[in-house]
Amino acid sequence: MLLFRLKHTIELGAKSLWMHRLRSSLTILGVVFGVCSVIAMLAIGEGASRQAQDSIEKLGSRNIIIETVKPPEQQKDSGNVEKVRNYGLTYSDAESIRNTLKSVEVAVPVRIISQAARYNSRKVAVNVLGTVPWYEEVSSIKIIDGRFLSAIDLKHQLAVCVVDEQVARKLFTFDDPIGLDVKIQGYYYRVVGITGKSVDSEMTDAFSDSKVVSKSNGGVIGNIYVPITTAKCRFSEFSFQMSGNSRNAERVELQKIIIKVGSNEEVLPTRDVLDSLLSRLHKKQDYRIVVPLELLRQAAQTRRIFSIVLGSIAAISLLVGGIGIMNIMLATVSERTREIGIRRAIGARKWDIIIQFLSETLMLTLVGGILGIVLGTFIPFLVTHFGHMPTVITPISLILAFGISVGIGIIFGLYPACRAANMDPIKSLRHE
């Protein structure tokens, strides 16, 4: 019985909607775009926040990263004299950190040198990372073949290196790199291990994606890890730049010190102690402390704001769709005044009329909702493909979008339906 009424109502609604095909499809289109934009916006928002989350997590939530930054240029008192600027983190900083901070489990000094690596006739631009064996503990790299740097390598300043996947592929192509020698600045280094893809060891800014980083790195394709002791004696700490007519030399010992503490709770207190320690050691503001955990929290915050903004944009477009529906349904109701009068005269209750018009609205929004979901799952793929933006469609967003479209149908359909039901039968029958 109920099923029959349902079937009848749907049939009837479909017939009426079919009578005004163009109007119905235009109305549906409003809902389609609304739902579709909700899903697409949520997918883009989710994709962006997951990406940020991922890259921050790669930095390690228990890590604190101290980076060398170039201090603001001081007014030069002497014009074109060759002058060395000393700044940045030093080996003694790393030493002091290890010695003074109890919460620090490991402190890993990192030197980064941009160099060309050669093998046979091939040559690629790489970052040479001078570091220590326990670098592994603070980074997300994984050894896929061979081994990482060892304490012996470090102690004896051995000319060994570990290359990452990208370098292995580009430089050695089909050869197995292990045991081969790669030439950097005239010295040969024996490859002892290969790490997995190092996405961006350079990256501490959580919101720039890897592509941007690699572009700004001037074609650097990957990393080669060497013992820091080896790096210290083989690579100069000086770098030269021409500015105007003066030749400036800079000397930087370490580009980074990565610290790992025992637990998440210790991260922030350690950061504060670290800050005061370093500010005592450094007169210039030539370092920066990056706390991935903090970034993680900021990312969560940003994500909330992002979602709210995107959500409200989408909500507005749904609202517009809803108002469109209401408009059309009001027009439909007044157009069908006579029909309503007839139905009332032959025994339809107000409730029957409400159900009739409400179900028509619901059918419009349901069809719109389903089409919107189809289109809305498709658009993020396009965005990812052409816009190179990560997108993630969560099931909850589909349910949400669908629920909203049904909700819109009920909310914006109710008023026209009630208006139809409350019309005076006699006046409706007289209506032309």
């Binding site: 019985m1 029959f4 009424r5 009848h8 009837l12 017939k15 009426s16 079919w18 009578m19 006579r338 029909e339 009068g341 007839i342 139905r343 009332r344 005269a345 032959i346 025994g347 339809a348 209750r349 107000k350 409730w351 029957d352 039968p425 006699i426 029958l429």
Partner: protein, 228 residues
């Protein structure tokens, strides 16, 4: 017992401060199976009276007993129910629903009374055949002539086997031939014992009935009982 019984039935419209009395003190009793015509000049209140009798409208004052039941104080839902199963309406302009075909139009009152699909479909078919449209059940109203449409309307009016059938100028839009068809169907219904109330301007139609009520300015001016 009389099917229709009104006591001092009045209908007035409040137009601003002015109270327009359209029907006044209508005392009317119609017996089961009677065939009644309501006549009168335009604006005399015939349609208004018919709407009151058909529970489409509520009286301003007075009482109306339909089939022994006081319907003058019922609420909208109860009135809808009564319209559906006690009353059959036939309008001058047929008033079929355009997006539905013949069968579906006839089914509609049964649907609103909650009759099952199989039953109502069977009955609708039977009724369509009865009014001579057995071969047009799938046609939509705009594919039918005026006379055919009015026959569908009659089938729809009698679908729920009402106690009274009300017709407001049922042949007003028809040529004389199809009008005659409609009248003969009404005659048949009368033969079968239905109570019919027909509003008309046409003396000839009125002469087919048993009783003619003349309205003038909202009052019953006179009544004529025909021989048959």
């Amino acid at each position: 017992m009389s099917v229709v019984n009104t006591k001092k039935l009045c209908k007035a419209y409040q137009l601003g401060s002015f109270n327009l009395s359209v029907l006044c003190d209508i005392d009317l009793e119609i017996e089961q199976g009677q065939y009644v015509a309501i006549m009168g000049p335009s604006g005399s209140g015939k349609s208004t009276l018919l709407n009151l009798l058909g529970c489409l409208d509520k009286p301003s004052s007075g009482k109306y007993f339909l089939d022994g039941k006081d319907v003058s104080s019922l609420d909208d839902n109860e009135l809808s129910l009564i319209r559906g199963n006690r009353i059959g309406f036939i309008f001058q302009s047929y008033n079929l629903i355009n997006q539905l075909n013949v069968i579906e139009n006839i089914e509609l009152p049964m649907y609103y009374q909650g009759m099952s699909e199989s039953k109502s479909a069977a009955r609708a078919r039977e009724l369509a055949a009865k009014v001579g449209l057995g071969d047009r059940v799938k046609h939509r109203p705009f594919e039918l002539s005026g006379g055919q449409q009015q026959r569908v309307a009659i089938a729809r009016a009698i679908a729920n086997d009402p106690v009274i059938i009300l017709a407001d100028e049922p042949t007003g839009n028809l040529d004389s031939a199809s009008g005659a068809d409609i009248l003969s169907i009404l005659d048949d219904l009368h033969q079968q014992g239905k109570t019919l109330i027909v509003v008309t301007h046409d003396e000839e139609i009125a002469s087919r009935t048993q009783r003619i009520i003349h309205l003038l300015d909202g009052r019953i001016e006179r009544e004529i009982h025909n021989g048959n």
